[in-house]
Symmetry: D2
Subunit: 362 residues, 4 copies
């Protein structure tokens, strides 16, 4: 193995730099191998200045830093790139250009650090003959084949600290505090942060909720003398009856303010419980900043393992955590069934045992 | 001095419990004085169960905790309370009831821990003969007569940490990150957090901005090769030309999404700079959680000093920090001129020297 | 199941309160079962006031707090208690007293939250007929049968943050910074924190080190132009040649200052590398404070699962994490082989690949 | 003003980089002035490679980082440098060499960022004709002429967080926890952190303590049913009767373990109170890591103000905070009376009112 390339794709996630550092150190120190950084995702292969050599010097001091020194701002999927031509939007396929550029670089392997989207593209390139190795990144934790993706632990800790902060105000001021967290398809962040932060209601995409159930939960707490509640909502959570956008209260019809589901939940709870309600949308705060110990640890192992995989020419595979061991799994298999919260797991059962409502009872 | 009462009013601020603890410890240990807690602001005086004795046991362990053990959820200004009678909203004055209740409690003094609103009410009660002592609380730092209010240092640190998190994502992903912070009338939080976090643009209520100036600043950075920017906005910041709610871009008219000024700034910058822009509204996260060392230190001194003021029968006064000393100042004088960011201060000059734009040039 | 007892034993670990809260909520809300708190470990069974009923009220607000509301200060192993009689120390066995007290309480099960020591005692009581269920707690992570114990993730994060702090000073001031961490028998904290914090040398009990190897590593860095190093040491790490307490440098014999292994490593490195060296002993800071999200999450699941185990009358068993699931395992099997760092694991391999020295080469 | 030099001297303090960044930005952007970085304190003037140009690029991204990009590892006071000649240690004066090197650089001013030691040297150079401007840095806060030095607020927050961590263990385990903090001559860190963290005993250099007084305080708490205590000790605190190194307990003489005053306090309390006692020495953890908002804010203002002072040719002066304004003060005046904790201040009175013992009563 003489030369590797590595790229980071998709949304930001704490730990990207830690993967790069471990990969570079392992490639250089263990295998005496050159490693090229590809800037801004797959685009770097075909853009001027898109390839930068990575040495020990380039990765010095980046372990604790969020973001990625390679950047990920790109123009989208090379197999289906939207471009404007003659004033109209068209979709073109530049993947052959990328493949040809990769060939010219004479790399033995390409390490792709990315989420669901970037890894699917990696798999497509693999099928076109590119020797790829995947590293599963996403704060949402929704990739199969691994116990956990990196970035998730940091995101959950940030979300939990937000709940801790909201808790004291909620309690002192008798408020319902709604916190919207990331998670379009999978509710892991909301589930973990909600349990860790002591939420009363957790709404996740995997469990369609009813408005009545969450109102009942809040009012039940009031009846027991507790005048505040913490409601954690995945951005992808939806009511079972999806149509409920305009709501009636007394004689009047209220149009909820535009905004995400968090805002809608807050508006509804304010009207239907009569309690003062506030919403916070944590947004990009979940993606940035210094990674937790677990994420730095996992990323260091992932980065080193990815280089080892390449050295063993195990292409089309992805590094993964299973129990306490970093192993590898087929990229395709990992992507076939996206990971979702298992409703039969002890984790969900624990939430119910603690009295947390998922909005699905009644 | 045989008996004191203490209440906490208005929005949440980190350090309320630290004030209560210090006041109770000082009253009991130094003066052998009884101290009564008034629940939910001034309402506690006239509601059943609104008065609770506070002893050493009640304040044990509360120093590091956000919120207030007394609660502050109340029904508003006793001099102008909105009530519903016969289906119509009316404004009534219950202040005499409060005064009479206070007299029955036979307290030597009433310590009011609150912001601008609560302290103004305290002054009104003082003018009606109630022996009040004030403690200036507000995360906005907009009360005169004191170098700083408590809660502010914690809020600024939380806001700065948010900027730190956004920074890495902004840089990796070539984004404009807009962060809306608290501050309706005074821009202290945005100014301090913006400088501490390394913001590129800071918009505050004291300096009306122009859309053009902030667009220019962002584009100027792009011309120098920096494809990201951090924009910090006080919730009370406003464009000089206030009417710019609907904006034109090319042939089309865009209606910015509803939402606060942060959202409007983000929408405008996205359209006018062509850069991907994201907004985060920090909201109540600035009000909760464990206070910083400075706030706990200040609150401990404020709480003890307030009891000393009462012991010296210095009513109608407020504790205040001047330089390194806690002193006292007239409540009325403190409220007469609300504190605003001093545009001639070295702090604002420093921001300009660092290259930060307030949106007022051009 | 009508009545349970729960106790916390041994050293402090972040998450004890989270286990108690989850156990109480599950017992009361799901099983309608009474649950008794046993104060100060097994002692509470036989001391006046040692049994306190735990209800929803008692566990309110304790999720984010370190320590344990039950206390763990006790007088040691009931099977071999050291007492002073007639001026002499004697060892007595009070276990029958404990068993008899437990019988009188008419509890269906006793949940023991503890580390290696407390769980071994639990096993002994189980063999005497007490229906015990174990919950594995130790910041050292040295209990078998489970992927991880609770308290460990928090300890590792605290240790990593300490390394982050030392890093900047080491780099600016050209210093060798030695950080002594907990871990008498197992080096997990040092290994995880060392990798996460970017240490250059990690010394753990599982790998006896040579003084020469660590000196060589530091000097090798100097030769490459890096005048600082971070050395992380488990308190139980030992040199291969254990006798090296007094050391010779030139013509003189130096007696290292008394103190732990961290101090000895620092003294030796200062003498043998000529670089300024400082030692920090993190000590109890690793045991206290608010648990991380992972620990709160794990503890909540452990607490609920322990009650379920009791409800199913699965006594003599311990809750455990395997992969992403909380399961149960035999208490005796878990204790038979204490967990140690697996020298063949990818984690240790990763450390070596990153260039970290364990002091075992040369 | 065409050219400035800037150096950082002495121990590490959070915020050094923030000062450098602000000074460079102000010099370059406002005054179009060149600014030279001097590496490793005054040594950089006379060592090869000791002068590096600082531009906007060099200070990018350093605002949140601890340490100093210029380094401070140096060989001591240029006016009295210890060197080894012919096997013997001699003291030589290299200050003329430094002065001459500074002249050759043709700088209009030299900004010295340092503590008491570095600023005294700056004053000596000023007296030799070097146009110096001082910036007061020290985590100990013991420099006169300014309300506060930078680095102090961060150190106090780190120390307070340590107390928070120790608190829960102390309480759960009935322990006396002793925390040794920095402060040889001034007890500000211990005083502020002790009050903010809720300590029971605070020992500072300004108040010689008696062993009996602190034992009494701990035992008094035990009598009131509180079996734990938090004792915060400045490293420079000393007993009134300084000779008490060996102590008698019953018939035996105990030699306290070697170690700092923290260890001695812990040993004594363990023997004399019979309670389990643990000591933690926070050491360099107080010096490193990312600065708090206050320190970043202050450093940014200090850095900009120092450049302004130089532009106005106000040499021999030091930037300072007075109230809310950054002003300047004579370097010599500032150094004449080192700042100590004012025993008559409301801060010390507050500590006493809260029931904290300084070990001086009885």
């Amino acid at each position: 193995m003489k030369r590797l390339a590595i790229l980071t794709g998709g949304g930001d996630a704490p730990g990207l730099n830690a993967v790069l550092r471990a990969a570079v150190k392992t490639a250089v120190q263990v295998y005496g191998c050159e490693i090229l950084g590809v800037r801004n995702g797959y685009d770097g292969f075909i853009e001027p200045g898109g390839i930068v050599p990575l040495g020990l010097k380039e990765v010095r001091g980046i372990l604790p830093r969020g973001g990625t020194i390679l950047g990920t701002a790109n123009r989208g999927n090379p197999f289906a790139r939207k471009v404007e031509q003659d004033g109209e939007e068209q979709v073109i396929d530049v993947s052959d250009q990328v493949v040809s550029a990769i060939k010219k670089l004479k790399v033995d392997g390409v390490i792709v650090v990315g989420g669901d989207g970037s890894l699917r593209i990696a798999q497509e390139f693999y099928e076109k003959g590119v020797p790829v190795v995947g590293v599963p990144k996403t704060i949402d934790n929704d990739i199969g084949g691994t116990d956990v993706t990196f970035g998730f632990d940091t995101a959950v800790n940030i979300a939990m600290e937000a709940i801790d902060r909201l808790h004291t105000t909620a309690e002192s001021h008798h408020r319902v505090m709604v916190l919207e967290l990331m998670g379009w398809d999978a509710g892991f962040i909301a589930l973990h942060a909600g349990i860790s932060g002591g939420a009363d209601v957790i709404l996740i995409p995997e469990i369609p909720f009813t408005w009545q159930a969450i109102v009942d939960k809040i009012l039940d707490r009031v009846r027991r003398g507790t005048y505040f509640s913490i409601v954690v909502v995945s951005e992808g959570a939806r009511p079972r009856d999806g149509g409920l956008v305009y709501r009636q209260a007394g004689d009047e019809i209220y149009a909820p303010r535009l905004g995400g589901i968090g805002q809608q939940v807050a508006d509804t709870l304010q009207i239907d419980t009569g309690l003062e309600t506030r919403v916070t949308v944590l947004g990009h705060l979940q993606r940035g900043g210094s990674p937790t110990a677990f994420d730095r640890w996992l990323c260091s192992r992932y980065g080193a393992a990815a280089v080892r995989l390449a050295a063993e020419e195990k292409y089309g595979r992805m590094v993964a955590l299973q129990g306490t061991e970093v192993v590898d799994t087929g990229l395709q298999e990992a992507l076939v069934v996206p990971k979702r919260v298992n409703l039969e797991s002890d984790a969900v059962q624990t939430a119910r045992d603690l009295g947390i409502s998922f909005g699905d009872a009644g």
